[in-house]
Every structure is written in C-alpha cells, then in structure tokens.
C-alpha cells in the first residue's frame, strides 16, 4: 500500500492541493499577526512581513483599552457557565437515563423539544425579563440563558444509557446514596463525553456575541467579543491596533487548540454524530 502510493503521481497532487488549501486557510491568521506587528506608518504598505516589527500595538491595546478586564469577564462567564452546564446536564442526563419514575419520557421529550426554539426568539423576552429584575449589565444577566443546555442533556443521556444497571445496583447494596451513585459511579464512566461537552460549552460562551451585545451596557462589563467589536468599530483605520486586539483574542484559543487538538476534533465527531 505504502509503496504503491509512493509511485502514484496523483498522491503527490493530493499533497500539493492540500498544501495549497492550507496556505489559503492559514493566510488570515498570518496576515493578522503580521499586521499586528507593524508600526502605524507601515500598516498600509502591503508587505507580507513588517519591516520594523514592534510590540507597541499590543502595549497600546493592553493599556489604552479595557482589554484585560474584558478578558477576565469572558473567563468568568465561560468558566461558571461551563461548570453549571457540566453539573446540571450530567445530572439530568443521568436521571433520565438511569432512574425510573413516572413522567420520565414526557420530561425528556419536552427538554428535547426546546432545542427547536432558536435563541433569537428568546432574546426579546430575556431582555424584558432582565430589565424588570435588574439583571442588565450583570454577570448573572450575561450567563443565565446558558446555564443548562438541552443539547448537553441529550448527549450525556445517550452515554449514560450505556452504563450497566448492575454497576449502580452494586453501589446501592454497598449503601451509596442516590447522589453518590451519580457523582461517584456514573459520572466517571462518561468522562470523554463530559470533556467534549465542557470544551464546546467553554468555546461557545467564550465566543458568544448576540446576547452579551444586548445585555451589556457599560464598557467594564463587556466580554471579549463585545469589547473587540466596539473597540474596532471606534478605532477607524488603526488596523494595526484592531489586528493586535484580534491576535490577543485568538491566541489563547489557538494555544488550547494546539494542545488539545485531537480531543477537540474527536469530541466534535463524538458529539456531532450523536446528535
């Protein structure tokens, strides 16, 4: 197989095509980084690499804007939301898969049906609700819509169904509490699915834009995407600064991706095909 491939010229063409394609795909990243290292005077010279690379743009973004604060806001929102989603989605997924009680199937169908409701339909009532309760411009206001997800429940339930009942019954005989059965016995069995759910919830919240844009009113409460959008909108043609702030937003995500790329891509397949 290996030898046959080596002689086949079409394999080389395949490599060539894939290589050309990846240059295209990677170019925006390269252009962003290169532009972010150019001094203002050079930004409109269309040159691939800066003649006199500088870190000034990064210094300016970090000191002139509230970038560190926005970064912290995004981190707080994404971490708390992910923890909540992981706990509640797993608990509900377990309960619907492994406990028998009246109304179970009806509850599952209702939760699943909520997947059909697009977020856009909910933002207006959420906004009215948030104004009435003083949630506008608070962390709670940014986070509350995403604290539990129907998709995660569906995903974890699928995996929990595969856990043998005998395992849980053995735990019951040993006197493990009902919560302990979930926490100590069932949960460790679905670790890969939980990892995938956590990664995607985190990324989803880190990138979330529509609802944060609506609920956030003051510069200090902005999450990173909202901060970048409004800062870039005000920066005019200071593309060196806009690209520096974009680089700062993209870099941590790319670093995590490089470290976890296999788990992330396999998680996509795992979750994508289950749904």
């Amino acid at each position: 197989m290996e030898r046959r491939q080596r002689r086949d010229p079409s394999v080389w063409l395949t490599y060539l095509a894939l290589g050309a394609g990846s240059v295209l795909v990677a170019f925006p990243f390269f252009w962003m980084l290169s532009s972010s290292l150019k001094p203002m005077a050079e930004i409109f010279d269309v040159r691939l690499l800066p003649a006199q690379p500088t870190l000034e743009n990064f210094a300016e973004v970090l000191t002139r804007t509230r970038f560190p604060r926005w970064f912290a806001n995004s981190l707080i929102v994404a971490v708390i939301t992910t923890a909540s989603v992981a706990f509640f989605d797993a608990l509900v997924g377990y309960t619907l898969a492994k406990l028998r009680f009246p109304g179970r199937d009806a509850i599952f169908v209702v939760i699943l049906a909520t997947l059909m409701i697009p977020t856009e339909m909910l933002v207006i009532p959420w906004y009215i609700m948030s104004s009435a309760n003083g949630w506008i411009d608070t962390y709670w206001g940014i986070m509350f819509p995403g604290l539990i997800t129907a998709f995660g429940i569906f995903l974890i339930r699928q995996f929990m169904t595969g856990i043998p009942d005998e395992l849980l019954d053995a735990g019951r005989i040993d006197g493990v509490s009902e919560f302990g059965l979930f926490w100590r016995i069932a949960l460790p069995q679905v670790r890969p699915a939980m990892a995938a759910l956590c990664i995607f919830t985190f990324l989803g919240n880190w990138n979330a834009f529509l609802w944060p844009m609506i609920v956030i009113q003051t510069p200090d409460m902005r999450t990173l995407p909202v901060g970048i959008a409004l800062f870039s909108g005000e920066a005019g043609s200071a593309w060196n600064l806009i690209m520096a702030s974009s680089s700062l937003a993209i870099a941590p995500v790319l670093l995590v991706f490089i470290v976890l790329q296999r788990q992330i891509i396999e998680g996509i397949v795992l979750t994508g095909l289950r749904s």
Partner: protein, 308 residues
Amino acid sequence: MAAAARPAGRPRLELRIGQQRTLWAYLFLLVPLLFFALIRILPALSSLYISLHEWNVISPVRPFVGLDNFRTLAADPKFAKAALNTVRYVAVGIPAQIAIGLALALMLQRINRFRGLFRALYFMPFITPIVAASWVWQWMYSQHLGPLNHLLLSVGLPAQPFLRSPGQALYAVVAMIVWQYVGFQTVIFLAGLESIPRVYYEAAEVDGAKGWRLFRNITLPLLNPTMVFSVVYSTIVYLQLFTQVLNMTFQDQGGPLASTLTLVLYVYHLGFQRFRMGEAAAATAVLFAVILVITLLQMRVLSKPVDY
C-alpha cells in the same frame, strides 16, 4: 423458612424504595425543570404573545394588535431583503461548504502522512473567535490597501470593492463563513467515510468498478446520513447568521443597500436599536417557523433509505 415472613413485608419495602427513588429523581430534576420552564418555554410563549401586541419598551400601554406586526413585516422591503439574502447565503454557502469539505475529506483519506496536521490546520478557523476573525477578514477585503486587492493588482486584475459593493458584499461574507466551517465539515465527512465498511469497495473492485463509479455508487449513497446531518446543521447555522455580518460590515451594518442584511440582524436593529419589540418578536416567530419547516422537510427529503 425465613421467606415465610417476607410476603407481607416485601412489597411495602420495595414500594418505599421505588417511591424514594422517584423522589430523588424529581429532586435532581427540580432546578433544571424550573430552568427550562422559566428560561426557555415561558419566554418562547411570551415572544409569541409580544408578537401580537404593539410593544414599545418606553410606552407602558401595549395594546393587542392581532397580526398587524406580521402585516407590517410583510410590507417592509428590508424584511423581504433580509429573507432573500438569507436564501442567498444558504444557496451559495452550503453547497460550497459541502463540496469543498467532501473534496478535502476524500483527499485526506488518500494520504498517510501529515493527515492529522492538515486536519488540524483546516479545522482551526472553526474554533477561532468569530468577532476577531470577522475583523481580520474585513481588513483583508479593504478596498484600497487590503492584501486581496493588492494581489489582484499585482496579477494585472482591477481592484474590487468587495464589502463596499452591493453586488459583492454578500459573497465576500459567504467566503469568510465557508472558511470558518469547512474544517468542521471535513471532520464530519472524514468520520462518515470511515464508517463505510471497506468490504463494499473490495467487492465493487472485484466487479471491476473504479474511481468515479466507486464514488458515485458506494461513497455518495452511504454518506447520505452524514449529508443529512451536514445540510440540516448548516442550514440552521446560516439562517441565524449575525456575528459575521454585523462585524464585517460594522460601519454600515447589513452592508451597502442592505446587501448583507440577515434576518437576525434585522431583528436586532428593530428590537434593540429602534425598540419595536412587537415587530421584532413577529420576525423571530417567522424565523422559528422557517427553521421548523426546513428541518422537517430536509429530514424527509434527504433521509430516504439507501437500497442495495
């Protein structure tokens, strides 16, 4: 012997354990059920309720107006434009994304070395924060000094207005979205291709089938479930386009002559800049109906069973 004492006590004990477990189950579900009732179902109903009222945030009087908001939408050329644009996004973006994704997956399947590296590279845009990526693309499309126009000029072609042109802006946005989703599409197709049993190909090769015929008669039909998933998933994504459009045409949200305007951006302007909540809610109800119908329709059209 000991069993003699059981018949009376046993059912009661089991009943108690059963009841106890039921109680635990309801306790576990208490907070999540409240959440789904208050944060999902009630707001969805309330959105439909708002769509039937004249609902201005400032005015406390919110009279029932029946289907008036829907009539106003139907008469609004901007709404029609947003709907038409959405059809364009779907019609151009999804075939492009699926064709390129499938081609990449087939190519990746043929190679032995660097497969993981290429896969990761193509996947990168999918996890990149959309807002930041949108601004990078806006910069690349820049009319006079962006790298794309520089490239065009250097090979002797005229510079293009891209995002500044009513005729080109939508396609410029589509290119960015395809860039963003193509790696995801590739990964999904790779998984689909791997699930096709090799024996089918071996059997067909024994029968003398090659290249295109293998693809046409085995790969494509057996990829059908993957296709269905991809088309449904991406249609729903495309119907809800917002972030890319708002950020790529930030100064002129919705593009020149509303040429990139999407339904969700339309809702955002109506509801949160002009505070006409009733009409905005009506527009989201239309979006909901469209998503519902398309999902059901696509499932039926595309999930025809594969016969051999």
